[in-house]
Symmetry: none
DNA sequence: TATGAATGAGTTTTCATTCAT
DNA sequence: GATGAATGAAAACTCATTCAT
């Protein structure tokens, strides 16, 4: 299910390029002031073009938010896929996956923050579309875990994946408390240790 | 440390009462449309007074947001304190505490959602003030856990408390996925089981 | 021709007293912020009573301005009359009169400033009423001059009185320039010297 | 020393042109109702553009007042300079200068009135900037007088210039009394006569 | 395609005035 | 007579969106 945004521009490549510029500028702007406080003029400026040009590539201000959220999810997802080795499904692979995921969440803290705070400002249908991508990411995690710990029940698997998922996001989202107490490495190691305890216990049941 | 909001009304009791009305109305409004999409006129109406009266009790629209966030935290905190039995510190007490906390988060889903989405719209100092209350809640959780499992390291204690804390919030915040797969009871039980595994392992170390 | 302001209070003495308080407070307020920038709440506060009470003694905000302008003129006029000795009409008396008038304008700079800046904000009829008082003051000056220099034509008399009159007001109104170059004494002496030249010349014609 | 007003318009020429339109409309509006009673919508309308457009060329309502005061002073000053012949410094030139200045004050009565009433509504720094222009005008007068009557002391020169200056302004400001008794010609002639008496006396000292 | 000036509906905020206590 | 809470009309100002160039 795609959710394309109308544009009066014909050249598809140009659209792609401009929207990328737009998205980059908008994220850094939304980081600072959030979607609602950012004006379309500021968005255009941050993207490097005029207000008139902005409206050649979107129809409403809300479209910018959609574009941004969509792009962030795409990037997170792409990087997760590139990093998670599904072929290899040892327990070591899980460790690597979690480490890579947490590292990714550290790299993309600001983007994730924007996502958390502004997603609800999207219209319901756009929200659902974007959250679909999150589900795919969750499934990616689930698969890695299941490969290493096949004896988990479906609910255990689902819950544990969810927990890891949000623990990664929280590293950035709750940085004001977590990053004062832990380095990324400490956080990663300790969370993984706790995870292993849970999994280990369950694996031998 | 208090953060009072100026009012031109002299009767302190009236201020208290009206602000409570205001806060009640505003929460239910923000649930629907969020802070930014709600107009001051709508806020006044939702609280049951005229726009003029609204501005007798606040100075800026932002003040409403502060009032709301502050009140939510206060309520959550008060209910947590009333529910967590610090006297009794058996492991059963921890179970009760976690169950009560998750129940509370279920009851106050909408409020927590509002908090998550709008907190960043507050000025920095108000944000810090409000987040201070969150820290106190975290400490409450920490204390209960520590009483039952005194051998945990400081970092383990901190991380585990954080995990429980956000797992409670996520129950409401990520309802679109969790509440489709779990009932509150299932979610609570399974999370507590996982928690016990972690704690049990560590307790006997 | 009187221009009374309605009041719901019966006790005439109380009205008089309260309006005096009001007028005092208002002048000092208008000095700072001008009539338009001063709110009725501030006016009430400056006068030492509540907004409700304020409206027992006036009907509209504009009434305050009228009261103030009226009171200032009354005071200026009363002090001029007390100071100008009409009985004695030597040329020395003129010197005394001018000196006293300039001193008076120095004492009441702020009041005169308020008058200059806000009089035009009054409705036409109130303006006319108040300006009537100014004419009486001018006539006072005219009479003193005429007594000493009876050979002046009517127009000369009128113009010279006007000039003295505004030179007095300017001392306060244009203080930003005059009071940097002159002391009050210097200003008075030099203006009077110039005046004498004019009068002397004309007296012997 | 300039005091520029921010605008979101890029075309400098357009800014100049629009602000001129704005200033023209605003003066005629302020003449009628004064600055405070004029709404921004009325100002926009008087200038011939929409409220949105108005705010493309100014930041605050106050900016309009500054624009207006500044423009009036500039016009008065330009016309004074064009009319006062500094080359030629006979006593006849002084007569011409005074006549021209009084004529100018007659032409611009309304503008001068606006200036008198609204200048104090400007922020202090803008006031000082504008009053700087008034000083330059005073110096212009001083120079003309000094050229014809070089033996005057500095204080005499300063005071006499000031007197002429305000006599011109008062012609418009106190029209309710002066213009009932004098024609402009009579006023000019008589004031000049009085002036000459003073100067003549002093010149031969 | 790109630009940016123009627009006006909609928003926040103020404040003179009223009126129940 | 005094008080001050309540009111809402009206004000300043913003900003998404359009459209002529």
């Amino acid at each position: 299910m795609v959710k394309p945004i109308d544009s009066s521009i014909k050249d598809e490549n140009l659209i792609k390029q401009r929207r990328e510029e737009l998205q980059k500028g908008a994220v850094s702007l939304f980081k600072q002031k959030g979607f609602h406080r950012a004006t379309t003029r500021e968005i255009a400026k941050a993207a490097g073009f005029s207000i008139g040009t902005l409206y050649e590539y979107i129809r409403k201000k809300e479209d910018v938010l959609f574009l941004v959220c969509d792009a962030i999810y795409d990037e997170v997802k792409a990087r997760m896929e590139s990093v998670i080795n599904i072929q290899e499904s040892t327990r070591e692979a899980l460790h690597e996956a979690v480490k890579s995921y947490f590292q990714l969440m550290d790299d993309m803290q600001d983007e994730v923050l924007v996502l958390y705070q502004e997603l609800k400002a999207l219209p319901k249908d756009a929200q659902e579309y974007v959250l679909g991508k999150e589900k795919e990411m969750l499934q990616l995690l689930e698969r890695v875990i299941q490969d290493s710990y096949p004896s988990l029940t479906e609910k255990e698997l689902s819950l544990i994946s969810n927990n890891i998922f949000i623990q990664g996001q929280m590293w950035g989202f709750r940085r004001w408390i977590l990053q004062k107490e832990f380095t990324l490495e400490e956080y990663t190691d300790l969370q993984f240790e706790l995870l292993q305890t849970q999994l280990g216990k369950r694996a031998i049941q």
